[in-house]
C-alpha cells in the first residue's frame, strides 16, 4: 500500500552480551520512515548508528521492542529489491569486479540480463566510477570502494537505501558529489534514504536529521549548524 510507512519501530532495543557485561547499542528507539524521507542519522562513533541501520535493514534482530516494514512486506522480503544497504567497512566482494559487484543485487533479484548491465553502467557513471568497472576491489582506493558500495546499494531502485558513513573515506568535494548523486537518484527512483554520518555538513544536506547518543535515538529535528 503506497500510503503505508516503509519502517515502523516501537521501543526498538538491541543489546549484546549478558549480565554485567551487557552493552545496549540501541535503547528504546521509536521512529517511522516514510516514503520519500531523506534522513541523516548523526552521532559520534559507538553511539549505535550502525546497529540501528542493521536493524532497519532486517539484517539483525532486536532484543526488545518491535520493528516492521508495512510498505515492504516482512523481513524476508526486504532484500534484494526493497532495501539497499551500503556498509561502513569494505564490503565489495573481492573476486568480482566493480561492475559485477553492482550487478549482483540485480542478478540475485532475477532481473533481465540486459536491464542488469545497463542499470549497473548507469550507476557507475552516476557515482563517478567511470573507467573502474573492470577493476577488482583490491585495485581501488578506499574512497572508490565506498562509492562503488553505495552505487551497489542503489542497484535495482530499492524503496529504501541505508548507507553507513558513505562519505567517511571521501574528500569534501567528492563527498558532496556523492551526496548529490544519492539524492538525485533517490528523487528519480522515489527511494527513501537513511544515512548514518558523523559529519554534520553532510547531515545538513538531508531534510530530516536524527541524532544518536549512547544508544538513545532522538528523532526531534536537529538545528542546522549554518
Amino acid at each position: 500500500m503506497t500510503g503505508d510507512p516503509l519502517v515502523v519501530a516501537d521501543s526498538l532495543t538491541r543489546s549484546f552480551g549478558a549480565g554485567a557485561t551487557i552493552v545496549t547499542a540501541v535503547a528504546d528507539a521509536s521512529f517511522t520512515v516514510a516514503v520519500a524521507d531523506r534522513i541523516a542519522l548523526v552521532g559520534p562513533s559507538g553511539s549505535g548508528k550502525s546497529t540501528l541501520l542493521h536493524l532497519v535493514a532486517g539484517l539483525d534482530r532486536p532484543t526488545g521492542g518491535e520493528i516492521s516494514w508495512p510498505a515492504l512486506g516482512d523481513r524476508e522480503d526486504l532484500r534484494p529489491g526493497q532495501v539497499g544497504v551500503a556498509f561502513q567497512g569494505p564490503s565489495l566482494l573481492p573476486p568480482l569486479t566493480v561492475l559485477e559487484n553492482i550487478e549482483l543485487p540485480l542478478i540475485l533479484a532475477r532481473r533481465l540480463e540486459e536491464v542488469v548491465h545497463a542499470a549497473a553502467v548507469d550507476l557507475i557513471d552516476a557515482f563517478g566510477l567511470s573507467g573502474l568497472g573492470d577493476k577488482l576491489p583490491e585495485e581501488l582506493s578506499g574512497g572508490q570502494s565506498q562509492r562503488a558500495a553505495v552505487a551497489r546499494a542503489f542497484a535495482g531502485a530499492p524503496r529504501l537505501v541505508l548507507a553507513d558513513e558513505p562519505t567517511g573515506q571521501q574528500d569534501h568535494a567528492t563527498a558532496e558529489r556523492l551526496i548529490d548523486a544519492m539524492l538525485a537518484i533517490a528523487k528519480v527512483d522515489g527511494t527513501s534514504l537513511l544515512i548514518a554520518t558523523h559529519d554534520r555538513s553532510i547531515a545538513e544536506r538531508f531534510e530530516t536529521r536524527w541524532s544518536m547518543e549512547s544508544g538513545s535515538l532522538r528523532t526531534k529535528e536537529l538545528p542546522c549548524s549554518a
Partner: protein, 885 residues
C-alpha cells in the same frame, strides 16, 4: 607477553584454522609413526620367521682329510653354536620288501644315522607319523613305494656289502628333506639336487654297525648345528652376521669341513623381502606422508590471506618483521604440539589396528627413534607451512600488497619452464628404459652379502607423481582462466542467472581452486594407486595359489603306480565336490632336457580347475584346448622350449617317455600345437601339456598322479574329507587352495602387506575427506564475510549454494578425474617396478571397485558436510559478522 595475547586471540577467534592445521600435522605424524611400525616390525618378524623356518642352521660336511670327532669338537667350540650333532649318511642301492608273496624293490636311497637326541634338538626335521619314535624309521614315501608298514621287514641293498635286513619300527615324514639332503660345498648358482625318494633313519649305533665296512665314497658324515639366535633384527644385518660366523668356522676347520649355511640362505631371501618392504614404504607410504604435508600446507594457506592482512596491520602498528615471524612461530609451536601429540596417539591406535602392535618399532630404541622422528617431521611441517610463508611475506611484501587477496598472479616458474611436461617425459623415459631392459629393482645375488637396489628407476613414479600434479595445476589454472564460458555453462543448471558471476568468481580465485584441485587429485591418485596395487596383489596371490595347488583341492602322488584306480569316482561322492578330473604327471626328455609332462582331457579339465586365458599364448584358453582336443598327439609347449628348439606350429616334437613294459625311455612323436605359459601344478620354466589318452596309450599306463578337485564348500573341509577317504598309508598328498595361499605368500607379504595396505587405504579415505571437506570448509570459512555480504545483499541459501557447490564440484570432481588418470598410470609403473613382489607378474591391473566406491562416497559426504555447514552458517549471518560489516 605479545605472544600470549596473540595465541589467546588465535584460540578464541581462529580456532577452526588451528584445529585444521593440527589435524594436518597429526595425519602426517600418524602415518609416519605407523609406517615406522610397519618398517621396523616387518623386518624383525622377517628375521624371526626366517630363523624359525630353519630346522638345522648349519650342516657341516666332514671332509675326508679329517675325522668327524675333530670337526665336531671344532664346531662345538665355535662362537654362537648352541647344538652340534653328528649325522651319518650312507648311499644304498635299493630297499626291498616282500608283500603278499611279491617282492617290491625301490631304486637307490639313503640311510641316515641319527643320535638319540636329534629329533628333540632339531624338532622341525622329523615328523613322526606311525609307530615308534626310535629304532628303524622309514620315510613315508619309501613306505608307500615298498608297501611297508610298522613291523615289515625291509632289506637294505648295501654297495660292496651283503644285504642287511631290518624291521620297521615307525613311519616318518621329512618336511625339510631338500636341505637335509643338500649337496654341500657347491658354488653359488649350482642348481638344487632333488632329495632321494627312498630314505631310512637309524640310530647312530645301528648305522655304524651296518655301514662300518662300506666303501668311503658311499658314506659321509655331517655335523648338524643349531646356533644361538641372538641376531640383529634386520634380515640383511643378520645375514651378514651369520655368513661371517660360517666363514669363521670354515677357517677354523682348516679345510676339514664345508658349511652348508641353511640359515644364511633363508636370511638371504628375507633380506630382499626387507628391501621390498623398504620400497613399499617408499612407494605406498611416503606419498601419504607428503600428501598429509601438502594438506597441512593447504589448510594453513587457506587462512593465509587473512594472516597476511593481520600481519600487515601489525606492521602498520609498528611490529618488526622479526616480531611477526615470532608470532607465526608461536602459532606453529601450538599446532605442532597439538598435532604431534594427537598423531602419536593416533599412530598407536593405527599400529595396533593394522599391525597388531601399538609400538612404533621393534625395540625400545627404535620406538623412541621413530616417535622422535615423526614428531620432528610434525613440527617441521608446522613451521614450514606457517612460519615460512610469514617470513617470506615479511621480507617481500609491502603492507599494501599484503592486503591484496586476489591479484593477478604471475605464472609460476615451473609453469614457464614446463617442469610438468619435462617431469612426465623424463619419468616415461626412465620407466621405458627399465621395462625394456627387463630389469629387477632388487638384486640379492646368491652368496653375496650386499643387495643391489636400482634406486634410479624409482625416479619414474616419483616424476610421474610430480609431473601429474603440476600438469593438473596447469590444466586446472588454464580452465579457470580461459574456460569461464564453459564453467558458466556447466554451472548454469544449478547457478541459473548467477552462473556468469560464479564463473567469474572462480576464475579470479583460480590460485586457491587450482591448489585444491591438485590436492584432491594427489589424494585420489594415492588412493587409487594403493588400492590397485593391493587388489592386483591379492588377485595374483590367488592365481599363484591356484597355479601351485592346481585346483581348490588337489591330490598328488609321486608313486609310480599313481593314484588308486577309481579314486576320481569315489572323490566325486564326497560332499562339497563339484568336479574331479585326473591328470597324468610324467617326465619326458626333449633332447637332453628332462621336463614335466601333463596328460589331460582338454574337454573336461576346465570342470575341475580354472583354465585362464593367461595360461596360453594367444590369450584364448578355450580355443587352445579345443585345438589340443582335436589333435590326439598334439602338445602344448612352454615358450622357453619353443625358443630353445625353434619350434613352429605343426612341427613334430619327439619326446622320450618311460614305458611301463620295460621301465625304459622310448621316443613318442607329438605335434606342436600351441604355447602354454602356465599350467596348474606345473613349474614356471618348462613343461608339456598333452592329451592324457595318447600318453596312456603310448606308455602303456593309464595311472594318474594328480586329481584336481573343484569344490563348492570350504576347500580345507573338503580336503579333510578326501584325506580320510584315502587313509594314512596312501602316500598321496592332499592340499587345498586356502592353505596353499598362506604358504605361497612370501615372508614380506604374509606379515604386513595386508596391514600396510589396510592402513594406507584407510588413510587415503581420511586424506580424501580432509582434502575435499576440510580444505573446502576452511577455504569457505575464510570467506565467511564475503558470503555474509552476499547474504546481506539478498542472496538466498540456494544462490549462495551456487558459489559453494560450483567450487566444490570443480575441486572434487575435477580432482578425482585427474587423480584417477594419474593414479592408474602410477599404479601401472609401481606394479611393473615392484614386479618382484608379485608371483606370477600380473598381466593387467585389477581395480578395487568397492574401495573406489567408498572413496567417492567419503569425498561426496565430506564435501556435502562442509558445503551444507557453510551455507547454514552464512545464509543467516551471525551478529558478530553483521557487526563487522
Amino acid at each position: 607477553m605479545l605472544g600470549l595475547i596473540w595465541l589467546r586471540g588465535l584460540i578464541g577467534r581462529r580456532a577452526g584454522r588451528l584445529v585444521g592445521q593440527s589435524i594436518g600435522v597429526a595425519l602426517a605424524v600418524v602415518l609416519l609413526a605407523s609406517l615406522g611400525t610397519f618398517f621396523t616390525s616387518s623386518r624383525a618378524v622377517m628375521t624371526r620367521q626366517a630363523i624359525a623356518a630353519i630346522p638345522v642352521d648349519w650342516q657341516v660336511q666332514v671332509n675326508a682329510s679329517t675325522t668327524p670327532a675333530r670337526v665336531l669338537k671344532t664346531v662345538q667350540a665355535a662362537p654362537g653354536v648352541s647344538t652340534a650333532l653328528e649325522v651319518g649318511y650312507a648311499d644304498v642301492s635299493a630297499f626291498s620288501t616282500r608283500v603278499a608273496g611279491t617282492v617290491r624293490t625301490t631304486g637307490g636311497g639313503k640311510v641316515l644315522g641319527l643320535p638319540a637326541d636329534y629329533a628333540t634338538s632339531f624338532p622341525g626335521e622329523i615328523r613322526y607319523l606311525v609307530g615308534a619314535r626310535s629304532g628303524v624309521l622309514l620315510a613315508q614315501q619309501t613306505a608307500a613305494n615298498l608297501g611297508a608298514a610298522v613291523g615289515s621287514t625291509v632289506t637294505i641293498v648295501r654297495p660292496g656289502q651283503p644285504k642287511a635286513t631290518v624291521t620297521v619300527d615307525g613311519i616318518v615324514d621329512l618336511p625339510a628333506a631338500d636341505s637335509l639332503f643338500q649337496s654341500i660345498g657347491l658354488g653359488p648358482g649350482a642348481g638344487p639336487i632333488a632329495p632321494p625318494d627312498n630314505v631310512m633313519l637309524l640310530s647312530t649305533d645301528a648305522w655304524r654297525a651296518l655301514f662300518a665296512a662300506t666303501p668311503s665314497g658311499a658314506i659321509s658324515t655331517q655335523v648338524h648345528v643349531g646356533l644361538d639366535h641372538s641376531l640383529p633384527a634386520d634380515p640383511g644385518a643378520a645375514f651378514v652376521a651369520v655368513t661371517g660366523q660360517a666363514k669363521n668356522l670354515e677357517a677354523a676347520l682348516v679345510g676339514g669341513g664345508s658349511v652348508g649355511d641353511n640359515l644364511s640362505a633363508r636370511l638371504g631371501a628375507a633380506r630382499s623381502d626387507a628391501v621390498y618392504a623398504q620400497l613399499l614404504f617408499l612407494f605406498l607410504g611416503l606419498p601419504g606422508v607428503i600428501i598429509a604435508g601438502i594438506l597441512t600446507a593447504a589448510i594453513a594457506s587457506s587462512g593465509r590471506e587473512r594472516r597476511r592482512r593481520e600481519q600487515a596491520l601489525l606492521r602498520v602498528r609498528g611490529a618488526s618483521p622479526r616480531q611477526i615471524v615470532r608470532l607465526a612461530a608461536y602459532e606453529a609451536l601450538l599446532t605442532g604440539t597439538i598435532g604431534s601429540a594427537l598423531g602419536l596417539i593416533g599412530a598407536s591406535i593405527a599400529g595396533w589396528w593394522a599391525f597388531g602392535t601399538a609400538r612404533f618399532g621393534a625395540t625400545g630404541g627404535q620406538t623412541l627413534a621413530w616417535a622422535a622422528f615423526s614428531v620432528a617431521v610434525g613440527f617441521g611441517l608446522s613451521y614450514l607451512t606457517v612460519v615460512l610463508p610469514a617470513w617470506r611475506d615479511s621480507r617481500s611484501l609491502t603492507v599494501r600488497s599484503a592486503q591484496v587477496a586476489i591479484g593477478t598472479p604471475r605464472r609460476p616458474l615451473w609453469e614457464r619452464l614446463y617442469l610438468d611436461i619435462i617431469s612426465l617425459c623424463t619419468g616415461g623415459l626412465i620407466y621405458w628404459q627399465a621395462v625394456r631392459a627387463g630389469y629387477q629393482v632388487v638384486l640379492a645375488p646368491e652368496g653375496v652379502p650386499t643387495i643391489s637396489v636400482n634406486y634410479f628407476t624409482l625416479l619414474a613414479p616419483l616424476l610421474f607423481w610430480v609431473g601429474a600434479a603440476l600438469l593438473t595445476w596447469r590444466i586446472g589454472g588454464w580452465l579457470l582462466r580461459h574456460g569461464r564460458g564453459a564453467i558458466a555453462a556447466v554451472s548454469r543448471p544449478f547457478a541459473h542467472g548467477l552462473s556468469g558471476v560464479v564463473a567469474a568468481s572462480m576464475s579470479r580465485q583460480r590460485q586457491a581452486l587450482a591448489r585444491g584441485l591438485v590436492l584432491m587429485a594427489l589424494t585420489a591418485s594415492f588412493a587409487l594407486s594403493v588400492g590397485i596395487f593391493n587388489t592386483t596383489y591379492a588377485n595374483q596371490s590367488r592365481v599363484d595359489a591356484q597355479l601351485t595347488n592346481g585346483a581348490d583341492v588337489a591330490i598328488t602322488t609321486t608313486a609310480s603306480a599313481g593314484l588308486p584306480a577309481g579314486l576320481a569316482d569315489a572323490v566325486r561322492q564326497v560332499p562339497g565336490v563339484v568336479a574331479a578330473q585326473p591328470m597324468l604327471h610324467r617326465f619326458a626328455y626333449v633332447g637332453n632336457d628332462l621336463q614335466d609332462l601333463y596328460g589331460i582331457d582338454p574337454g573336461t579339465i576346465g570342470l575341475a580347475t580354472t583354465m585362464s586365458n593367461a595360461f596360453f599364448a594367444g590369450g584364448n584358453a578355450q580355443q587352445v584346448l579345443r585345438t589340443l582336443a582335436t589333435t590326439p598327439n598334439g602338445v602344448l609347449v612352454s615358450e622357453e622350449t619353443v625358443l630353445d628348439f625353434q619350434l613352429h606350429p605343426g612341427d613334430t616334437v619327439r619326446l622320450r617317455l618311460q614305458f611301463t613294459s620295460d621301465h625304459a625311455y622310448h621316443m613318442v612323436p607329438f605335434v606342436y600345437v600351441g604355447v602354454a605359459r602356465e599350467f596348474p601344478t606345473a613349474p614356471h620354466d618348462s613343461f608339456f601339456v598333452t592329451n592324457g589318452a595318447y600318453v596312456a596309450r603310448a606308455t602303456g599306463s593309464v595311472s594318474a598322479q594328480t586329481l584336481l578337485i573343484r569344490t563348492d564348500a570350504s576347500p580345507p573341509a573338503v580336503a579333510a574329507s578326501v584325506r580320510s577317504l584315502l587313509g594314512p598309508a596312501s602316500g598321496a598328498t592332499v592340499q587345498d587352495i586356502v592353505t596353499q595361499e598362506r604358504i605361497t605368500l612370501s615372508g614380506l607379504t604374509a606379515i604386513d602387506l595386508a596391514g600396510l595396505t589396510r592402513l594406507e587405504l584407510a588413510f587415503a579415505l581420511v586424506l580424501a575427506a580432509g582434502a575435499s571437506g576440510l580444505v573446502l570448509a576452511l577455504g569457505l570459512a575464510e570467506r565467511r564475510r564475503t558470503f555474509a555480504i552476499a547474504a546481506a545483499l539478498g542472496a538466498k541459501r540456494r544462490q549462495l549454494g551456487a558459489f559453494v557447490w560450483s567450487e566444490a564440484a570443480f575441486v572434487a570432481i575435477g580432482g578425482v578425474m585427474f587423480g584417477a588418470l594419474a593414479g592408474w598410470g602410477i599404479a601401472q609403473a609401481i606394479v611393473k617396478i615392484l614386479t618382484g613382489v608379485f608371483d606370477p607378474p600380473p598381466e593387467h591391473l585389477s581395480a578395487p571397485w568397492a574401495y573406489l566406491g567408498v572413496f567417492a562416497l567419503a569425498t561426496v559426504v565430506a564435501v556435502a558436510v562442509a558445503g551444507i555447514g557453510m551455507l547454514r552458517a552464512t545464509s543467516r549471518p551471525g551478529a558478530e559478522i553483521i557487526r563487522d560489516l
